[in-house]
Symmetry: D2
Subunit: 344 residues, 4 copies
């Protein structure tokens, strides 16, 4: 019963099989091989963006930081939410890769509010040369708290950004979960809404470690490639990144895996509704449940794994547990978790 | 007949098998799983360094840059050769990760000369606060030109560095090839000779993409981990790096693969001796051969792949070809290459 | 009637005289001259810190950024208020000089609350390698909103910082105004309260452009000097910085100038009390006054200069004016400003 | 008898007078005052560049580093000579301000050779994404070894740079000495020859500390201003930089001071010709003289001050002394130096 993270489970078997298939013969390095070229084409097709610049990296932090650094000058500030992964969980990587840009935390929750964004942007860049200059807007779909941005909110945020001439970055570590939940196409979720660069995450969705970075303005391609190399993120044996992504795209595997993960989370939320306060209705693969102390103790005793987001692991009162499902979360684990919780 | 690079060939099948085996169940992320712990222990055993800090990253540029950044202050300069990978082939990654340190090119060839190093160090750091301060010494074993540092040279270089209080970094992208060629133990090649941090490369020796970074002073461990995360180089699904390295270490596979690669290069050199001027006797897996124009044309016509290091791909006069062998280079390719060359 | 800033007025005549006196003969550069040495000694005496490392730079941004960079690792975050000059008015200089550290804005006003600081520190550094690490605490005395930290608050903040092992930086761009207002000694205001590095500002208090940076731990001296040089902030003709500071220290000129500035501000506040809402009782040289629209219009018509901090320069409703006095603010300007305001 | 550096002597009295004159009344800060505007106009006039972006900073390291950073991407390399101040004497400031660019040392002496530059440029940027990309060319007029670039050499170097699409930076710490020696106009020395950004140094020529940075492409203005602020190099009381430069420009003072300095150096060289080997004929204000040991001892005994560039201060054999004259070097010091040397 491991609900700690979508990085705890295994890769999908077909990904390993794809690695094995790719592991044959001599091919050019650094992404110049046929498989890598094919994968880039497939992503362009998927995003209905024939001119987009598409590249692969191995970690989400690299994807976000390199994408932002390509859009953001060192004197600027990036607008994001207080919960943003780029703020909370990247150990200053965005600051490092941008050469010292700032992050401005737009007040509010994990789903950025267009009006709050407008106010935040208006609050920066008003001091001439003295203050940080306005830079990119960064949003996370689905958010770090498991919530979805409706497409109209994405469009509204992009409209605000554009009205100030600012580019928009979409952290899509859980892009697939969002696409399934929204029943939206990658194009609708990104460039059609006004997004300038999107991260199409694979790692959390069943790969070993691959994220695609997609610039809808191909003029950024060369700079991104240089920054990737300078960051030590250009794989010499690139085919092994490409093979993973290729498997991910094959027959819509990425949607299938995300659909399973989302369904598990929905089942979990439904089952817990009587015994725990679940914040909102999860539409992705992550939920936060307030567990009474007794339920928490019982679950731990049964070996359930999850992060305590609020409250004390050992102590009194309820805890808020973050519960993340993946494609490999067994339905039986979900059932057992619910059963233990309910019996408490 | 692909002799372009040791990143052109496939991974060893047992590495893919190890990935498949590791692909089971839920485990902690970010290197806290049992397999990752075991692999760190195995590397400590291999290096006879029970206290060493050992971490894995996925690329050689990351390994070198993060290791150097942990040793080098931004106001310092790194001493390396003009051929060093960190100077020639990392797109300013060392400068980036160190926060703007300089590289001082020690005059001479690819095998750094201890007397030249002493002179170079004496030439820096003499201007008080005005000039770059003296920083780490970085050497590559085997070098980017395919040459070996005899252990006594490594010791002599470390002695020079130590006499100035400077640490030593060893870029071991081809560590395995060197270990086989020198018939030396990892401990002899590194900390017993005075090396402070070593990169034990796996990527060029049959893995998909894994390098171990070993600090013999464990006090550097935490800083390195923070820098790795900040650089986007901490894998969430760390087990897939560990599994590769585990396979590499199993039954001395790493030595076996390197021995094969070295043997192929030796055969190639021997076979070419009548028709091309091979610079030195290769003891690793890389050689540079001056091919007469006719030989070059014939080889290309037959589909031979290699980099032209000097001379013109299309033009007149001889070319110097870089020829790299890997564990997967077929003996038949070597024989055919020689045959074609000889028949020209 | 210029109340825009303490950088708008002239330097004290004795400072120009000191420059003229220093402008004689050949002396060593880069701060190795007798006058520079003497000034460093005088500052050590003033701060009752015989071992302190003392250096001069020409701007406040340089002083703050270099001081923080010497205390702060790139993976850390600096704790400051949302109003802090280092956050609002230095165009990402702290981020630049630290190599990409973050600033954490401690909620609350311009006078940091010790309890809020504790909560903020507890909220960072809890994510292991993933989040920003805890770094220095930075406070401004007097604040950017013209308020004073009582010494017991400084001590309480330092105690909080120390309880986490964190160093404390004091931005003293208006140190002199604070010293006069608190009637406190420089030692009491800094190291006796637990401050690790203080900026003793001269620019806003009647010099052309000089700030002293004082590290009470002399072990930081060399690193600071290297960072200063690397930042382009080491003056070759250092005597001209030293001469200004020497004049500042002569016969307590610095206190005298600040006392005048503070007195002007107090007079201004008292005089405005009937016609404007002055936020708090100013004890330094800066106040914020809410001016009814009619008063604002009348003052502008009379040529009064000040920044509109809140409200619209041209529009409706009241404006909040920032009013800054300096040593050179004529008492007659204060009187006239009050008179115009009152007559409205 | 102080020949150590052009930063050892005093400022010209008229500069102090200008400071005193400027020290009157309240004016806008940060360079928005009338005097600062006038000075920028005067420099544009002097350089016959009505559209140029002109800004002032206080140190040469700041001027060079900020100018280069505005022209150079972090993945690029700057081409300069091994003697360049930016390489030897700025403690990695160019690397810092550019965000980690590299410096490529063009082989040869202190006067860069156009053919050597071409070869150096051709040698970089040939490795695609792997190596440093080609960046600006930086030359120093007059050089750190006291030599002049003939205008045709500047033009030839700029032509080489332009043929690769690279911009040219001119470090003019001793621009005035060069202008006098070449009898050339600032325009001829810079943009007419193809220079993109020039530093017009005042510090070494009789100011307290001011350098003008002139971008002939005004599109760089805003970025430079932001970088200057971020670097802590924007003076709040800007008028005191402007006043110095204003005095410098008044009635061609800058030329007059440089002419005196150059004449002193010429006299010194002529007088030493019998007793020391002077390298080349100095045309600027700096010479290098090989002094026999006895002469060196005798000069030191008489209190002569200079840097020993080669050889041992205390030891055997000759020493190479660097001898720098300034506008304030007394003719009597020159005569006495020669007399002592000759009498040895």
């Amino acid at each position: 019963m491991n609900f700690t993270s979508d990085n705890a489970g295994p890769a999908h078997p077909s990904v390993i099989e794809a690695l094995a298939r790719a592991n044959d013969g001599h091919v050019p390095g650094y992404g110049a091989d046929d498989l890598s070229n094919r994968v880039r084409d497939r992503i362009r097709d998927l995003f209905e963006a024939p001119d987009a610049a598409v590249e692969l990296v191995a970690t989400g932090t690299a994807a976000n930081s390199l994408a932002l650094a390509t859009l953001c000058q060192p004197v600027q500030t990036v607008f994001c939410t207080p919960d943003a992964h780029i703020h909370e969980d990247e150990c200053n990587a965005p600051e490092f890769f941008t050469g010292g840009a700032k992050l401005t935390l737009v007040p509010g929750g994990d789903v950025m509010d267009p009006a709050a964004l407008r106010t935040a942007i208006e609050g920066e860049g008003t001091r001439g040369v003295h203050g940080a200059q306005r830079g990119p807007v960064s949003i996370t779909q689905i958010t770090e708290r498991g919530n979805l941005y409706p497409l109209e909110t994405v469009r509204a945020l992009c409209d605000v950004a554009k009205s100030f001439g600012l580019p928009v970055h979409l952290d899509g570590a859980r892009f697939a979960n969002a696409a399934v939940a929204l029943n939206a196409s990658p194009a609708e979720m990104t460039w059609r809404a006004g997004v300038d660069v999107a991260v199409f995450g694979g790692t959390k969705n069943g790969l070993l470690g691959v994220e695609a970075v997609i610039f809808f303005d191909p003029a950024k391609h060369w700079e991104f490639q240089l920054r990737r190399k300078r960051g030590g993120h250009l794989f010499s044996k690139f085919r092994y990144l490409a093979a993973q992504m290729d498997a991910n795209l094959e027959n819509g595997l990425w949607r299938e895996l995300a659909a399973t993960a989302n369904a598990r989370a929905a089942d979990l939320a439904a089952g817990l509704s009587g015994v725990a306060r679940v914040s909102g209705t999860p539409r992705g693969n992550m939920l936060f449940a307030e567990l009474p102390r007794g339920v928490h103790i019982r679950l731990r005793a049964a070996g359930a794994q999850y992060y305590v987001w609020d409250g004390e692991e050992h102590g009194n009162g309820p805890v808020t547990a973050r519960l993340v499902c993946g494609w490999s979360t067994p339905a039986s684990d979900v059932a057992r978790f619910i059963e233990i919780a309910a019996s408490a």
